[in-house]
């Protein structure tokens, strides 16, 4: 079959054989690919520019199949503003997280937090001296939700949502 394609390209086939070769050439993706490759080879051998259509399509398709990379362009970080903003955001996030831990009343290993970020001293220091031992912060939330009956998917029993039976649906 590849011989047929080759012959076809070289103009060696008669009308009948040519028609058959063209038909078979487009019948499978494999032969279509061969057709494209032979054209590419012949273009290159003749010193001309490669036939653009098939290659471009394949490249496009291959790109489409690639997983999209979701990332900020590197250029954004190269600006001074970008750097400053990122640094500021990181600081705020750190303070926020530390502050949040403090607000949870956990005061989990306050010494470690102080060493990491001096800004954390304040929220932790605000906690009353009564905090003697690190508290399991996650646990507090569970008990708080149970005590106040704060709605949470874990505490509320599921109620089935059932559409009415067929006759009732008409109402």
């Amino acid at each position: 079959m590849t011989q047929e394609i080759s012959s076809l390209m070289d103009g060696e086939l008669g009308a009948y054989e040519a028609e058959r070769a063209i038909r078979s050439c487009c019948a499978t993706s494999e032969s279509a690919q061969k057709w494209q490759e032979y054209h590419l080879i012949s273009d290159v051998l003749r010193g001309g520019r490669p036939h653009p259509s098939g290659t471009a399509e394949r490249v496009r398709r291959a790109l489409g199949a690639e997983p999209a990379i979701v990332a900020r362009p590197r250029r954004a970080l190269d600006t001074t503003f970008g750097r400053v903003a990122l640094a500021a955001a990181a600081s705020v996030a750190t303070i926020g997280v530390v502050g949040w831990i403090g607000s949870q009343g956990g005061a989990d290993a306050p010494g470690a937090m102080v060493a990491k970020n001096p800004a954390a001293v304040q929220p932790v220091a605000h906690k009353p001296a009564a905090v003697a031992v690190p508290a399991p912060t996650a646990d507090v939330q569970d008990y708080l939700a149970a005590h106040r009956q704060i709605p949470s998917p874990d505490l509320y029993r599921t109620v089935t949502n059932r559409a009415p039976a067929a006759p009732a649906a008409a109402r």
Binding site: V131, A132, P151
Partner: protein, 325 residues
């Protein structure tokens, strides 16, 4: 159990009439009567609005609509911060809808007290633990408002300040003060409509809105308010009464957790007893706003007390937990 069909929110006009009927004026100088009226108003008055709740470092905004319909309370509560959800309460049945999860969940109301319904006992019971006085009157949110001052008779609880609307008694603002007279918790309406026009549109019940039947999942009710957990609080602090004893399913626990709820009519606390796995040896505690948390190991059990009380009260209660004889 079939919990709701369609005619839940048929017409609410009778409820509105009732709301007004309850707005008779209190005796001008009797603080206990003012307190009783404020408690009653939270159940009987029709209102709709938004309030802000600040407790320690947490702040949340909540939209609430409340109607008393033929003696039945209907309430719709929608927290405006965080994950989207709404709670519809019919008397003591609380239905919680999570739109994202497309589920409705049911819980009987036990400890839950949404502002302005923060008083859970009679005025006389509350007066046994608090010295009740009238404060100044002032204009709040466009309404004339009378401050009621509740100062504790001991150091087991916090001071309360309630601002009761003059014509209906509804509490428009509430503050909790610690021993140093600092405000550590506050509720305040930021938007409020009282009376017939208030809650009509907002109270369309979710059952009706969806034209569907909501059925419970038929699970056995282990979380009844009167379960025998086998645990008791001996010598409960002065004024605190047990209002519920139940077994709760908490996330991440293989066994249900025993819960005993005590209240003095304003402040409440929960005692949790569970098998500690692995057994713990250290106590832990924290305080944020009015919320005290204290956990102590007791043999192979872990006793945890959490409530709107000073930490010392939580510790006192936790040390007095024992097996029921």
């Amino acid at each position: 159990m079939r919990v709701a069909g369609s005619p839940v929110a048929r017409r609410i006009l009778p409820a509105l009439a009732l709301g007004f009927a309850c707005s008779a004026h209190a005796a001008p100088n009797d603080p206990i009567a003012w307190l009783a009226r404020a408690a009653q108003a939270a159940r009987a008055v029709t209102y709709e609005g938004v309030y802000v709740h600040t407790n320690g470092e947490r702040t949340s905004t909540v939209r609430i609509a409340h109607v008393n319909h033929g003696g039945e309370e209907h309430e719709r509560i929608e927290p405006l911060d965080g994950a989207s959800m709404e709670i519809v309460r019919r008397n003591d049945e609380m239905y919680c809808r999570f739109p994202d999860a497309k589920t409705v969940r049911l819980d009987p109301r036990i400890t839950n007290r949404f502002f302005p319904a923060i008083l859970s006992a009679s005025a006389e019971t509350i007066a046994a633990s608090y010295d009740v006085k009238l404060g100044k009157s002032e204009r709040v949110l466009g309404h004339e408002c009378q401050w009621i001052r509740l100062d504790p008779r001991d150091d087991l609880r916090f001071s309360q300040r309630l601002c009761s609307e003059l014509s209906t008694g509804l509490i428009l603002r509430a503050k909790v003060l610690n021993g140093q007279r600092q405000v550590i918790e506050q509720y305040t309406f930021t938007d409020l409509r009282i009376g017939p026009q208030a809650a009509r549109a907002d109270l369309k019940s979710i059952f009706r809105a969806h034209g569907r039947q909501w059925l419970t999942d038929g699970q056995p009710r282990d979380e009844t308010a009167n379960a025998d957990t086998g645990w008791t609080v001996v010598r409960a602090p002065q004024g605190f009464q047990k209002v519920a004893e139940l077994k709760r399913t908490l996330p991440g626990r293989a066994q249900p957790v025993s819960q005993i709820v005590l209240t003095d009519g304003v402040a409440s606390l929960s005692v949790f007893v569970e098998a500690a796995a692995p057994p713990r040896t250290v106590e832990s505690s924290s305080e944020d706003g009015t919320t005290a948390f204290y956990a102590r190991p007791m043999g192979e059990q872990l006793v945890t007390v959490l409530g709107e009380v000073p930490l010392a009260t939580a510790q006192l209660v936790a040390r007095n937990v024992a097996r029921r004889p």
